[in-house]
Symmetry: C2
Subunit: 219 residues, 2 copies
């Protein structure tokens, strides 16, 4: 027997998180609530996409938003200004949301009042990919100004997502963004990933995304 | 005495990192090498700014680049294609560079051949802010498409940086970016932070940044 005692903190944290996420997903299923988790770099347009989605689907579903930020209530305020309901999580430094934080937020919500919960994760292409939030659908936004090579650099994020939304396509002429190169890379890393091109600003592509999402919402 | 043994992993990791960073800074000072650490969101323009800086200062200084990525050699290849020297660190999942990784990279370099080392950190506004790399100067890039509200959401990153470079100013008309709001927020969070407006793509503002950087390089 070795004299060295190994404490693998990260593995233990991730296992605990996965177990909590599983329970949360089962709980939401029983309550007939569908949850999606939106991830991206800072400033790729998570809040704008959520507002566009709220406006398109608000007559069909009762939607709640869980806003994750290191600090500030900026995004929650925007959601409320646009007629939505928001619960703000401030992580105080943590770079991702985990299933315990989501459960804490959901515990403050009366689930009888919601069909859909949208999580806006911390703006980060690394750590959020490792933590199952308990959502039914993982969505990532890549904005055109970030470039078409992000799959090569942050592969896990693109692997764990069911949907890739390419945002800010209204300004594609300003940037050197190769859609074919991106599609080829996506096909290699995650061939099942559904891809949409949208502009949350102009509304282009939002209907196609919302139509597809409506088919997935099984409540 | 309590029966509970608390293992504060994060605090211990950060203390070890700070000690390593201190030693590294002293070592580089003795070797007359100045090091800067460039941080930003994914796709804000770290590699483009480094290439523009290399081209402007290559006749004045011998510059080496340490490229940090989760995966891939894409950025190192770009640096080499543009006549630079690069050492690639692939973290394999870690969301930031730390002083141990930087020391490992520097150990592969003959410091007699360099005046300046530029670190390109992982694209992430959260975790890299917590880890001193041993650099003399912390630089962050905020690109116009990300928006003017990032200081509110990722305050630590803006607090630890000596310089804020606002990149992609050539496409400011396409985005709702309020420079005055940003300046006011920056003055509250980090009044000593030097701010430049540049376009690494068109070259606008690069000379002013490089002139200022030359004054800081004390080798």
């Amino acid at each position: 027997m070795s004299d060295i005692k190994l404490i693998n903190v990260k593995e233990s944290i991730l296992t605990d998180n996965d177990n909590d996420a599983l329970f949360l997903r089962e709980k939401l299923e029983k309550e007939n609530v569908f949850m999606l988790n939106i991830m991206s770099s800072p400033g790729a347009g998570k809040t704008s996409l959520i507002i566009a989605t709220l406006k398109t689907l608000q007559d069909k579903y009762r939607i709640g938003v869980i806003e994750g930020d290191i600090d500030s209530m900026v995004d929650s305020e925007k959601i409320v200004q646009n007629g939505g309901h928001a619960v703000q999580i401030n992580t105080g430094g943590d770079c991702h949301l985990d299933s315990f934080m989501i459960k804490s937020a959901i515990d403050t919500m009366d689930l009888d009042n919601y069909d859909v919960i949208i999580i806006e994760n911390i703006g980060n292409l690394v750590c959020p990919a490792e933590f199952d939030t308990g959502a039914n659908l993982n969505v990532m936004i890549l904005s055109v100004p970030e470039g078409d090579d992000k799959i090569l650099k942050y592969p896990l994020m693109f692997q764990v997502c069911d949907v890739l939304i390419i945002n800010k396509i209204d300004c594609v002429k300003m940037f050197d963004f190769n859609f074919d190169a991106l599609m080829n890379r996506a096909a290699l890393v995650n061939p099942k990933m559904k891809i949409f091109q949208v502009s949350a600003k102009t509304g282009e592509g939002i209907e196609a995304w919302c139509d597809w999402l409506s088919e997935k919402i099984t409540v």
